[in-house]
């Protein structure tokens, strides 16, 4: 049995939010992680207009950025978000297929820096852009210990 990739572990069903976001890893290429997102109606801001809330983008970006960090670590370690800055261009529509792309820019003093965006899968239109920073090696139990 092959050992699961750290990113697969990160997005496993044991990660509660992954189930709600409907995330699926598309590609891992040269520090860039691409993830498909099929979010449910539970993130609707307005059921009449069918507009999703911007919080969905923040949830996805934080989740996928964390996955991008995990995917580049030499060994499995817990991480924690330090900061997340997001610009919202357009809100996703109900049922709109999304792709989140995250690029690990580098690690300095155990802090990982990630940039990325959320886009429409159908058109490539950018919906949100973000930068994030993550502490590597928190006091949490290492990933994989209890999986």
């Amino acid at each position: 049995m092959t050992k699961p990739h750290p990113i697969e572990l990160f997005f496993s069903s044991q990660h509660p939010i992954s189930r709600h976001l409907g995330v699926r890893v598309l590609a891992v290429e040269d520090r860039t992680l691409s993830v498909a997102v099929e979010a449910g109606d539970c993130f609707l801001a307005d059921a009449e207009t069918g507009e999703m809330h911007s919080g969905l983008a923040s949830l996805v970006l934080d989740t996928v950025f964390g996955g991008a960090v995990m995917g580049t670590l030499d060994r499995l370690q817990p991480i924690a978000t330090i900061g997340l800055t997001t610009q919202h261009l357009r809100r996703p529509a109900r049922g709109e297929s999304l792709i989140c792309r995250a690029r690990m820019q580098g690690v300095h003093d155990d802090v990982a820096h990630v940039t990325g965006h959320l886009e429409s899968a159908a058109t490539g239109e950018v919906l949100s852009t973000a930068t994030g920073s993550f502490m590597i090696g928190t006091r949490s139990k290492p990933l994989g210990v209890r999986l």
């Binding site: 044991q14 990660h15 509660p16 939010i17 189930r19 709600h20 109606d41 539970c42 993130f43 609707l44 801001a45 307005d46 059921a47 999703m52 809330h53 911007s54 919080g55 969905l56 923040s58 949830l59 996805v60 970006l61 934080d62 989740t63 964390g66 817990p78 924690a80 978000t81 330090i82 900061g83 997340l84 800055t85 997001t86 610009q87 919202h88 809100r91 928190t138 006091r139 949490s140 139990k141 990933l143 210990v145 209890r146």
Partner: protein, 135 residues
Amino acid sequence: MTSRATGRPAAGECDARLASPMARWLGFETTERADVFRMRFAPHHIGNPFIRALHGGAVAALIEFAAEYAVTAAAGRARLVSSAVDYIRVTRDADVLARVDTVRIGRRLAFVDVWCWQDGEDVPVARGSCSLRIL
């Protein structure tokens, strides 16, 4: 105060937000203080199952929702443009309270800071700085 976008009164806009699926997912509630809101804990808010810490995105979503709600109540209708969130302390599997401090509400734009805590208002777990477009 009414929304220029929908013509609905601010109170109606706020009611619609409180009844939205996103508000239910967050467990978003108003409190006796007009500037303070609650995210009632739910297991799907967990980001780290091993220490049962909240997901950073859930806290960011609370900050954004609270910012929009507060500015909508004051100015009619608002949509988030950007947010910058700092995660100050580790969270735990419990409710989060969020206080919205208005920096400026203009005719077209608003700027607010949001402070979040669990154990006490003087022990923040996160802060957010948000800019919003008034519609």
